[in-house]
Amino acid sequence: MSAAFATTVRDLSPEGLVRAAVSGDELAFATIIDRHRASMTRVAYVVCGDADVAEEAVQASWPIVWRRLPSLREPDRLGAWLASIAVNEARQLVRRRTRRSVVEIAVAIRDTDTAPDPSHRVEDLDLVRALAGLNAEDRALLALRYIAGLNSQELGRALGMSASGLRRRLARLLARLRSELSDG
C-alpha cells in the first residue's frame, strides 16, 4: 500500500506529507496512517493491554489527528506526536472501563489474527504482572518514553505535566519497577 501511495505523493518526507495532508491531500494522509498505524497500536497496547482496545484507540485517533494536524509545529517529530494522541485515546478508553470493572492486562497470547506469528512473542510474565499493577497514566508514561521515544518536553505536553514533575514521577515509577521486575 505504501508503494502505491508513493507514485502519487511527491514528497514523502514527514514535512512533505504533513504539508500535503494539511492541504487536504488524502493520499498523503493515508500514507501517514499507513506508516504510523502499527507503531501507534503498539504504544496504545502497552497502555491498555488489549489488542482490540488498542486498535479502537488508534482508530479514534485519526479524526483528532486530522483536526489537529495544522497545529503540528515539528513535522519531523510526527511519530512522537501521533503516539501521544494514540496513548491519550487509549488512556481515555481504559479510564472509562476501569471505572466499572477491572481491566486485566492480557497475559495470554492473543488470537493469531492479531499476532500473525505468536511464536515470536514470548510473554514476559514479570513485566506483564508489573504492568498490571500500574495505572493507565503510568503505563502511558512508559509507552511514550520507552517505545515512542518522546523527550521530556514532549512527554510533559502529552501528559499535562511539568518537566520536573515528570522526572519525579518517572523516578518513582522506575524505583517501583526495579523492585518488581526480575532480571528477565
Binding site: 501517514i32 482508530q59 479524526p63 512473542r121
Partner: protein, 396 residues
C-alpha cells in the same frame, strides 16, 4: 533528542516493553481511514491559528474583542449590532418523503450513557452502558454491556429513523441483521430515546431501545450532558459548540478549540507551597471550599478579589474571584503554579481566575468557565449543575 539519560535498567526495560508491545494490528485500508477522518470538520485557518495560541493569549484577545464590542455597542446601539435572529431549524428540513439516508447527524455523534439493568438474553452484568455513534456518524456500538455484545453496526439515518446493520455476528444475531429505530431527543438534546420499529437482532433491540444520556466526555456538538469520567458524575448545560475533552485524574477539560470556551473541572484542588517554584511542593491539603479560599488568602502571588457564598444544586459553594498580583509579584516568570487535583500528578498555571467551588459530601469540586467572567452569563451555566447525577434522572 534524548534529554533523559537512560540507565542500563531503563535500556533493558525499553527492550522488554518493545517486545511486550510487538503486536501487529489487523490489516486496514489506510485510504478509507483517511477519507473517514477527513470527513470530520477541521477548524478553519483562523480557528486553527487561534487554537495554536496559548490559553492566556486567547483569553487576552477574547477580552479585547469583548471590550471592543461593548464600546461599539454603546456608540452604535445594541439593536444594530445584535439584531434578533430567530432560526427555525425544523423549517429547513425537507419533508420525510424527500429524506435520503445518510450518516447520523452531528448532534447524534456522541457518547451516550444508560443504566440498562439486567437483560436475560444477553446475560450482562450491572452498571452503566455506553452507546457511541462515532465522529463520522456511520458506526454505532455499545460498550460495557457484555463480552461479544458491542453490537457494532453501520448506522444511517433518514428523518427520525435510525437504521442499523450489524457488522459482526454475535449475541445470537447474524452479521448484516437490520434494524430500524425511531430516534427522538429532548429539547436540550441531552437525552436520546431510541424505540425499535423492527430489528432482526432481538438482543440488540433489547439493549438499544431506551433513553440515553449524552456525555460530554469525548467529542460532542451539544453542551448539555453528563460527565461520567469523575466520581460522582455530574450534569451541566454549556452553550452548544464543537467540544473535545481531555481527562486526567480527577480532572476534565471540555473545550471548543476554535474559541477556547468550555469548562474545566477538578476534584479536591490542592495548592502549591510556593506558586513561583517549579519544583511544585504541595501546600498541605485541607478539605472544603473555604480551606481552598484560605490557601489563596495566604498566597503572596494572588489577591482574593471576592469570595461569595452561594448554593449550587443544594450544596454549599463559593464563587471565588482571583487576581494575580501585578505589582511586587515574586515570580521571575509569568507562570504561577496555582493548583492541581489532589490525586493528579499534574499542575495548572493560573493568573486571574473566576472559580466556583462546590462542597459535595467530603469532596470539593472546582468549576471554571475559561472564557466567562460575567456572573450574568456564567451563573446560569453554573446553576445548571446537578451533582451527583445518576443517568436517567431528571436534569431539571
Amino acid at each position: 533528542m534524548d534529554d533523559l539519560q537512560m540507565t542500563s535498567f531503563e535500556r533493558d526495560l525499553a527492550r522488554r516493553l518493545v517486545a511486550y508491545g510487538a503486536i501487529e494490528p489487523r490489516p486496514a485500508n489506510a485510504l478509507a481511514l483517511a477519507r473517514d477522518a477527513m470527513a470530520t470538520r477541521r477548524p478553519s485557518g483562523i480557528a486553527a491559528a487561534w487554537t495554536s495560541l496559548r490559553p492566556s493569549a486567547r483569553a487576552a484577545i477574547a477580552v479585547a474583542i469583548l471590550a471592543t464590542i461593548l464600546v461599539a455597542s454603546v456608540v452604535v446601539g445594541s439593536r444594530l449590532l445584535f439584531p434578533t435572529q430567530i432560526v427555525d431549524r425544523r423549517s429547513t428540513e425537507p419533508p420525510p418523503s424527500l429524506l435520503v439516508a445518510g450518516p447520523a447527524t452531528e448532534d447524534l455523534r456522541s457518547r451516550w450513557l444508560a443504566d440498562v439493568g439486567s437483560i436475560p438474553s444477553i446475560g450482562n452484568g450491572s452498571g452503566p452502558v455506553t452507546l457511541t455513534i462515532d465522529p463520522t456518524g456511520s458506526v454505532l456500538s455499545l460498550a460495557n454491556l457484555a463480552p461479544g455484545a458491542s453490537f457494532a453496526s453501520r448506522a444511517t439515518i433518514a428523518g427520525d429513523v435510525l437504521k442499523l446493520e450489524l457488522l459482526n455476528a454475535g449475541a445470537g444475531c447474524a452479521a448484516g441483521a437490520n434494524g430500524e429505530y425511531h430516534q427522538a431527543q429532548s429539547a436540550d438534546r441531552s437525552r436520546l430515546t431510541l424505540e425499535a420499529i423492527t430489528d432482526a437482532c432481538p438482543s440488540r433491540s433489547e439493549a438499544v431501545s431506551r433513553s440515553w444520556d449524552r456525555t460530554l466526555v469525548g467529542a460532542t456538538t451539544v453542551g448539555a450532558g453528563l460527565v461520567d469520567s469523575m466520581e460522582p458524575n455530574f450534569w451541566i448545560r454549556l452553550p452548544d459548540a464543537n467540544y473535545e475533552s481531555r481527562t486526567l485524574d480527577d480532572f476534565i477539560e471540555i473545550t471548543d478549540p476554535t474559541t477556547g470556551g468550555g469548562l474545566v473541572v477538578m476534584k479536591n484542588p490542592q495548592g502549591f507551597a510556593d506558586s513561583c517554584n517549579p519544583n511544585q511542593v504541595r501546600y498541605p491539603y485541607k478539605p472544603g471550599a473555604s480551606a481552598f479560599v484560605d490557601y489563596f488568602r495566604q498566597n503572596q502571588a494572588f489577591v482574593v478579589v471576592s469570595a461569595t457564598p452561594l448554593t449550587i444544586d443544594g450544596h454549599k459553594a463559593i464563587h471565588l474571584v482571583l487576581a494575580a498580583r501585578v505589582t511586587g509579584a515574586p515570580c521571575p516568570g509569568a507562570d504561577l503554579y496555582a493548583y492541581t487535583p489532589k490525586a493528579c500528578e499534574c499542575h495548572f498555571f493560573s493568573g486571574d481566575d473566576n472559580l466556583y467551588l462546590v462542597d459535595v459530601d467530603s469532596d470539593t469540586f472546582m468549576f471554571e468557565l475559561p472564557l466567562a467572567s460575567n456572573p450574568a452569563t456564567d451563573l446560569p451555566v453554573i446553576q445548571s449543575i446537578r451533582i451527583p447525577y445518576v443517568p436517567g434522572e431528571s436534569s431539571q
